[in-house]
């Protein structure tokens, strides 16, 4: 079983549209939506949820006002400025528990925090594990790890060849979590200066964690000069460009219809994505 994660650094370069198409193309796989705080893959795959589970993670401090003597020690020691006027701001609280350990009258308790939900679903294209982080919650990295672990279990149980993960944008905690244990990172970029800048950083993260990478240039024709810059940059680093996908409004049309683009159209975009998947499945089987 191989684990492939799709990343980009910059948001909105086309990760989810490509993963949605891989869902339609790959035969033996489970899908994992690791963009847990803005998950969109379900909009292309129309899942029916088989199992919904609460995600409890982390703690939040709570001050019992009847016991509190307003000595102010907790406010002084909190490194996150989460306590003001002897009340805890649950959004700033990082759940470290320092205050609960030092309160001289034991007025502070730590309460478990329900941080979201995760779902095991069926789609017309195979199983999907996805999640919804609660509004303004932390621990997205842990929820990503949980989604991946559940997807892996399904792949192992059903003897599936691939776990295909739709990754989050950026390079921080949920990205690091989605890379852990991956066999391949497919980096989707676009020929804009922002896209190139962000590709360089996410490529740095993949190298830091020793995950082999392939690059896909999406909307390559919006700026051919920049496309060449990406090609040169990747060739200097010995990183392969596995696909060049043209800009086409058909991607948005398919999204509006709630379908993977390869199921909606058989134009140039669909052809490029098909040959990208063929290449990946041949090379990483």
């Amino acid at each position: 079983m191989k684990e492939i994660v799709i990343l980009s650094g910059k948001g909105g370069t086309g990760k989810t549209s490509i993963v949605g198409s891989f869902a339609a193309l790959a035969e033996s796989k489970v899908l994992a939506d690791c963009d847990v705080d803005a998950a969109d893959l379900h909009l292309l795959l129309n899942p029916s949820v088989k199992q919904e589970t609460e995600f409890w993670s982390g703690q939040v401090a709570f001050i019992n006002a009847e016991k509190c003597t307003q000595c102010g020690l907790c406010q002084d020691i909190c490194h996150f400025d989460a306590i003001n006027n002897f009340k805890v701001d649950p959004i700033s609280c990082e759940g470290c528990g320092f205050c609960s350990h030092i309160c001289p009258v034991d007025a502070i308790t730590m309460r478990e925090n329900m941080a979201g939900h995760w779902f095991a679903s069926d789609t017309g294209y195979g199983p999907l594990v996805h999640a919804r982080l609660g509004i303004a919650q932390e621990n997205s990295g842990k929820l990503v790890a949980l989604v991946k672990q559940q997807a892996k279990q399904i792949a192992e149980k059903d003897g599936l060849d691939y776990v295909i993960s739709d990754g989050p944008p950026g390079i921080g905690c949920p990205v690091v979590s989605s890379l852990s244990g991956a066999n391949l990172a497919l980096l989707v970029t676009e020929p804009t200066l922002s896209g190139i800048h962000d590709l360089e950083r996410v490529l740095g993260v993949c190298r830091h964690f020793g995950v082999p990478s392939l690059v896909c240039i999406n909307k390559h024709d919006i700026n051919e000069d920049n496309t060449r810059r990406i090609e040169d940059y990747c060739s200097d680093l010995g990183i392969e460009i596995a696909a060049r996908i043209p800009f086409d409004n058909v991607v948005t049309e398919a999204m509006v219809k709630g379908m993977p683009v390869v199921a909606y159209s058989d134009g140039n975009v669909a052809r490029e994505i098909k040959s990208l998947w063929q290449y990946i499945s041949r090379t990483w089987s």
Binding site: S8, G9, K10, G11, G12, T13, T16, V36, D37, A38, D40, L43, G58, Q59, I77, H79, I91, G95, C96, G97, F98, H101, I102, L133, I135, A136, Q137, E138, S140, G141, P168, P169, G170, I171, G172, C173, V175, V176, S177, E190, P191, T192, L193, S194, G195, H197, D198, R201, V202, G204, V205, H208, I222, N223, N226, N249, T252, M255, V256, G258
Partner: protein
């Protein structure tokens, strides 16, 4: 006044809006642009600031004095992040897991733990003409963006027009970037993905009790569902930007919209005026 720019979905045009808003205002107001997308900061590409200062951002992580340590295990017991472990005669620390809360060093009965700085990113400050510029950069391989964002925000000046560019999503880095703003602009596109993530972003700003308005980018693609949603939720659409190859091409070359197409300047000044109006309305409502 602090105006933050967020989106939910990535790639909807936060950077375009934040940079053009800052540039459109810089001749009439004292403007500060703070790029809080510390994982993937891009504003500098469009602003081309002169960077004058660089400061490391660090969090305090534990350092154990082996001579004083009795291996009692108190530090491992109080650490909520499993960033310190005591195995027989050894204490292991994992700086990448540490949130820098300080509990272990304070609570160590032997005072064997001191806090040392672990660098996780840098802050760069400078200016582009009269405009102040600040951005943070999370170091490659580091996971925790919020402490870097906090450092960028410490430099926000309420007496100026401070524009904060946030990262995509709705979790802790976004909350850290937008909280305590006077107003949050949510940039979206009229597609199913854009709408799905806009709904999450609206819930987030409402939870933080920040007034917000919408910039609808790339109109003409997608469908009319986002406008229906905005109407139903009483969210003002303050600016629309069409899907346009010239705009996309300027963006791809790192040229700010108001510089490549100066006719847009008045639209961004108008956007700012609407924001000021909405903020004033709200302030007079809360006073009443």
């Amino acid at each position: 006044m602090i105006i933050s720019v967020a989106s939910g979905k990535g790639g909807t045009g936060k950077t375009l809006v934040a940079t053009s808003l800052a540039l459109a205002l810089k001749d009439k107001h004292e403007v500060q642009l703070l790029d809080c997308d510390v994982e993937e900061p891009n504003d500098h590409i469009f602003i081309k600031p002169d960077i004058r200062h660089q400061n490391a951002v660090s969090i305090p992580v534990p350092k154990v004095d082996e001579e004083k340590c009795t291996h009692c295990g108190k530090c491992a017991e109080v650490c909520a992040y499993n960033a310190i472990a005591v195995v027989k005669e050894y204490v292991l620390t994992f700086p990448e897991l540490c949130h820098g809360c300080g509990a272990c060093s304070y609570l160590c009965p032997e005072q064997a733990i001191s806090e040392v700085a672990n660098d996780i990113g840098i802050i760069e400050t400078g200016n582009a003409g009269a405009m102040d510029f600040v951005h943070g950069k999370l170091t490659i391989g580091q996971a925790m963006a919020p402490p870097v964002i906090r450092k960028v925000k410490e430099l926000a000046d309420n007496n100026k027009v401070a524009i904060i560019d946030a990262s995509p999503g709705t979790s802790c880095p976004v909350v850290e970037a937008i909280k305590e703003s006077d107003f949050c602009l949510l940039v979206t596109e009229p597609t199913p993905f854009g709408l799905n993530d806009l709904v999450l972003a609206v819930e987030t700003v409402r939870q933080l009790d920040i007034p917000c308005g919408i910039v609808l980018n790339r109109t003409g693609a997608g469908n009319g569902k986002t406008e229906e949603y905005c109407q139903k939720e009483n969210l003002p659409i303050l600016l629309t930007i069409p899907l346009d190859t010239e705009i996309a091409h300027l963006y791809s070359r790192g040229v700010a919209l108001v510089e490549g197409m100066p006719q847009w300047r008045k639209d961004f000044v108008g956007l700012f005026n609407k924001i000021v109006e909405l903020v004033n309305e709200r302030n007079s409502d809360t006073e009443r």
